[in-house]
Amino acid sequence: MTREEAGRLLHAYVDGELDAAKSLELEAHLAGNPAARAACERLREMSAAIRSRADYHAAPASLAARLRASVPAVPEEAPRRAALRAWLKPAALFAAIALVAWVVAIMATRPGDDERIAQEALASHVRATLGNRLFDVASSDQHTVKPWLSARLAFSPPVADFSAHGFELRGGRLDYVGGQSVAVLVYQRRQHVIDVFVWPAREPRVERTVARDGFNMEHFARGGMSFWLVSDLNRNELGDFARLLAPTP
């Protein structure tokens, strides 16, 4: 065995990844070569040092509890193997998201769609409050709500808690608005429920305030996301909340 080959195989040998025949050959080489033997010893020490002294970060107990709680209690579509492969290739995933965003952008910019979306968002809000089915995931923790939604949508909606400002995060749900799945973040101010509909859209900066059937709605687009707020909260406070969600620079 040449020195080069021995050097090449040394890591695999120390890691126990060399087959029996090659191991024997390498051991013969080591026996007649003190420098190579020393190198082998140093590698073993390095490995032992990492194993004994590097931090092993065990998952916090709270994480396990949170996961058990958030592994879905709602039916999912049966995933296929092909879906797994697509996910394992981030490039393919990225392309898929870009395509969805593109289609959504085209749909969202068609004239007259705003009106339809406003109708559908309002209908969803009313259905949820009447049926008392406000959320699929009930939590005031943004780190629970966000991953729950992200895992079920082709995008990751921004989720933040504004309890310090009197707008408390209560949970989130999925809905279907404007021909697509959207995230709905549910906030509460006193007795008023505020639904925030979010989905990706490449819209120009718009800001609209609509009042309909006693409900107020705020619409704006920020950071590649389209937001619709629906609530029976008064117009001023809903406007304040919209500014919290989309601070004007």
């Binding site: 890591h11 994480l63 396990a64 058990r68 879905p72 296929r80």
Partner: protein
């Protein structure tokens, strides 16, 4: 909740959740931050649940592959600088001369952790999977989506870089004495 669904959830919890520590450890070493690691792991586990029917064979490397991809996507969005040069898949020659032992013997826990955390991500993940998770080259190749030869060269290069950086830390502390 219907029965098939709760059974699926139960099977998932039995097979996948025991590997939560491994998932968190990898995410913590790749993001280098507790809080971010929790977010990434939570997202990854929920994804794993969606693709659970695609699981064949061992659950741990399967879950770690999903966690690792979630980490990479997260880094791409939040800290793209750290991934510079990550996709270099060339197999580099393994140097025969390995490092001095002195620095290794003197280094304490803190120094070793710092030196490991300072390695670039592809060497760090290879060493964590090999030394802390005790995974085979084959599993590491599968998780990190590279050929076996690349796993081998990354481990070799990672160990050499780690030794050099420990040597540098040790030299620096000698000067201060």
């Amino acid at each position: 909740m219907n029965e098939a669904l709760s059974e699926r959830k139960q099977r998932f919890e039995e097979r996948v959740l025991p590997h939560l520590d491994a998932a968190f450890n990898l995410a913590r070493w790749l993001t280098r931050n507790d809080h971010d690691a929790q977010d990434v792991v939570q997202e990854a586990v929920l994804r794993a649940y969606r693709f659970f029917d695609g699981l064949r064979g061992e659950a741990r490397p399967w879950l770690l592959a999903i966690v690792r991809n979630s980490c990479l996507s997260w880094l791409q969005v939040n800290r793209p600088v750290e991934l510079a040069g990550f996709d270099d898949r060339t197999v580099e020659p393994i140097e025969e001369n390995s490092p001095e032992t002195l620095a290794l013997r003197q280094c304490d826990r803190r120094m070793l952790n710092e030196a490991l955390a300072a390695l670039s991500a592809q060497f760090r993940e290879a060493l964590i999977l090999r030394e802390l998770e005790d995974l085979s080259y084959k599993d590491i190749a599968r998780i990190t989506d590279v050929p076996l030869g690349t796993v081998m060269s990354r481990l070799a290069r990672g160990r050499r870089l780690l030794a050099e950086s420990l040597q540098a830390i040790s030299n620096a502390s000698q000067v201060h004495r």
